[in-house]
Symmetry: C2
DNA sequence: GTGAAAGCGCTAACAG
DNA sequence: CTGTTAGCGCTTTCAC
């Protein structure tokens, strides 16, 4: 089967290349009769115009890139990135963009990926997950005219666009919920403290304590990472400090921590109450269901794509900052049942 | 910042466009001194050649597509696809290919995606997950000269390339393991029976029974899907048939089924033994660890990319069929501890 | 309304 | 070794 081109279609339809192009792009000023004939030829030959040629002529690829860290721990077990990817992919589909996926596992990978994403002609725009790995990329891209949007508040950088949830406020709300429930010794296992999320959620925790006149006890704060296993270890470290309740920076972390609690012969929420973050659809495990901060992950991905497309279509806009809402989902792990409000 | 082109670099370096092209593509026959000068200009201008132009000239995009079904159940909770994607993405990185991700959620989506993946100039080749959704795409692509490789045995289609694990054999081995352990009433919860995996694993189950002179009891067989929830329901259906052991077509399904077992007041493996499939790194739940068939998922993805690239570079080869090995991982859920071999 | 022709940025013969 | 030239397949003025 010979690879068809516009010219071939034009010949078969007895018109010129330009006319075929007009038909394909739905432009006006083509006689209805001619249009129909061309359309017919296209249909019966199953012709699809060459993307590379079109990209070259239009200086537009209709392709978006998504750069994600590939940390062994998080990408394997935490459903966060799969869901985010799904939201982004769905939205790309919807808007007729193709999605390019770039998994960065190391600084080395980053080096390898950079030229591919920065190079013109491949991508119209980029979505970059904020974090330890992504942020170097962000700095380099900032000196480029490649439109990009950061997922999550970037660690630094002034004039860059990003989308995030208000982590400080959400964490604040989660901890205040525990305070209202009467807990006083409230601990936390933080996210990676080198990342904006980790910092922000910790800050929300601290602010809640301070604003409610509770002492900040360093022994009740353990820095963790978004991994079940590390959170399990962190909880063991936290146990001697005798927390009455714990705010974990992600649901996955809450699961790990609760595992440690159980193994120590204690009960959730009776001995230690829990609040998580994410509201991940998890395997139903035989425990009290998790009280948690719900993030609209899929919508987050969709919204990100929309903003990025806006950024691409209209370069004149200044940096965009979009904050999406979270919602505290109260279930049983916070011990609300046994408490009086 | 003006978008640089080869011509600009050529001018700055005082050579012709061709020479710059040669330097970039590492071709010989460029004087060392000239090469150095050009390289220097490229470095200081941070120049990257335009991908679209290069693709057009070379008729090659160095981009691979991955088509995955986006079934709500599986993509959300089962880590299978995230891991597969990771393997594929890693390998793409390694071989300097860009990965395009296409999530298909409906027949409608499929319709929308088809022109994008079939169109020349965007993709050099395609990886398509076999299953209910993917298979229509496969048929259409077969009439095309787009190289593609199916992940998992396609439901039908003769001359198409695919990579798979030997599901029949692996399931057979898992069930034989249970038989050797002395179980006689062995049930199964199958995968989607419209898909090749579902069929193959069920066949392995049946073959094991038959070859060992065990009766096939229809009440011990429940058709399921790769979802925790459906498997939970399936197990409830299976319970009255009093199985001594159950072979679940995936780990996720085993988790759901075991949940039903527990809720019925029974113990794993003492009352009902379990063998799963996948060897997913799961959240450690307080149960006996799962005996399961390990699939080399990441390697599977990597291998798939390699085969596809071979297919792309050398079109003359006939259809490839690659079967990867699985391994039975014996842990506690099969009740091996309490049994005498 | 429609066709001719130029050009998008790069590679690859083909001369020299 | 290096420059000139002719495409790759599409879009888009600009004539007619």
């Amino acid at each position: 089967m010979p690879e068809l081109t516009l010219e071939d279609i034009a010949q078969k339809a007895g018109v010129s290349r330009s006319t075929v192009s007009r038909v394909i792009n739905g432009q006006p000023y083509v006689r209805a009769e001619v249009r129909a004939r061309v359309l017919e030829v296209i249909r019966e030959t199953n012709f699809h115009p060459n993307v590379a040629a079109r990209s070259l002529a239009l200086q537009r690829s209709w392709m978006l890139g998504l750069v994600l860290p590939r940390t062994v721990s998080s990408l394997f077990t935490d459903p966060y990135f799969p869901r985010l990817t799904q939201g982004v992919a769905q939205a790309c589909n919807q808007h007729n963009f193709t999605l390019g996926l770039f998994l960065v596992g190391s600084a080395e990978d980053e080096e390898k990926i950079y030229p591919r994403v920065a190079r013109k002609g491949l991508l119209d725009g980029l979505l970059i997950q904020s974090g330890e790995l992504g942020d170097q990329l962000i700095d380099r891209l900032a000196n480029t005219n490649m439109p990009f949007l950061v997922l999550g508040r970037p660690f630094h950088g002034e004039n860059i666009s990003y989308i995030d949830v208000d982590n400080v406020d959400a964490a604040y709300g989660a901890v205040v919920h525990l305070i209202r429930l009467g807990y006083r010794r409230i601990g936390t296992i933080t996210g990676p403290i080198k990342s904006a999320v980790g910092i922000d959620r910790k800050e929300g925790y601290l602010r809640a304590l301070v604003e409610h006149g509770l002492p900040v006890d360093e022994s009740l704060i353990v820095d963790g990472s978004f991994s079940e296993a590390e959170s399990y270890a962190a909880m063991q470290q936290l146990l001697p400090a005798r927390p009455e309740a714990v705010f974990a920076a992600s649901d996955m972390m809450a699961v790990g921590a609760m595992r440690a609690v159980r193994e120590a012969g204690l009960e959730v929420p009776d001995d230690i109450a829990f609040v998580g973050f994410d509201d991940m659809p998890m395997i139903p495990v035989p425990e009290p269901r998790l009280t948690t901060v719900r993030q609209p992950i899929i919508k987050f991905g969709e919204k990100a794509v929309e903003i990025l497309i806006d950024l691409i279509e209209d370069r004149t806009r200044g940096p965009q900052r979009v904050i999406m809402n979270t919602e505290l989902i109260v279930r049983e792990s916070c011990g609300i049942r046994g408490r009086n409000l």
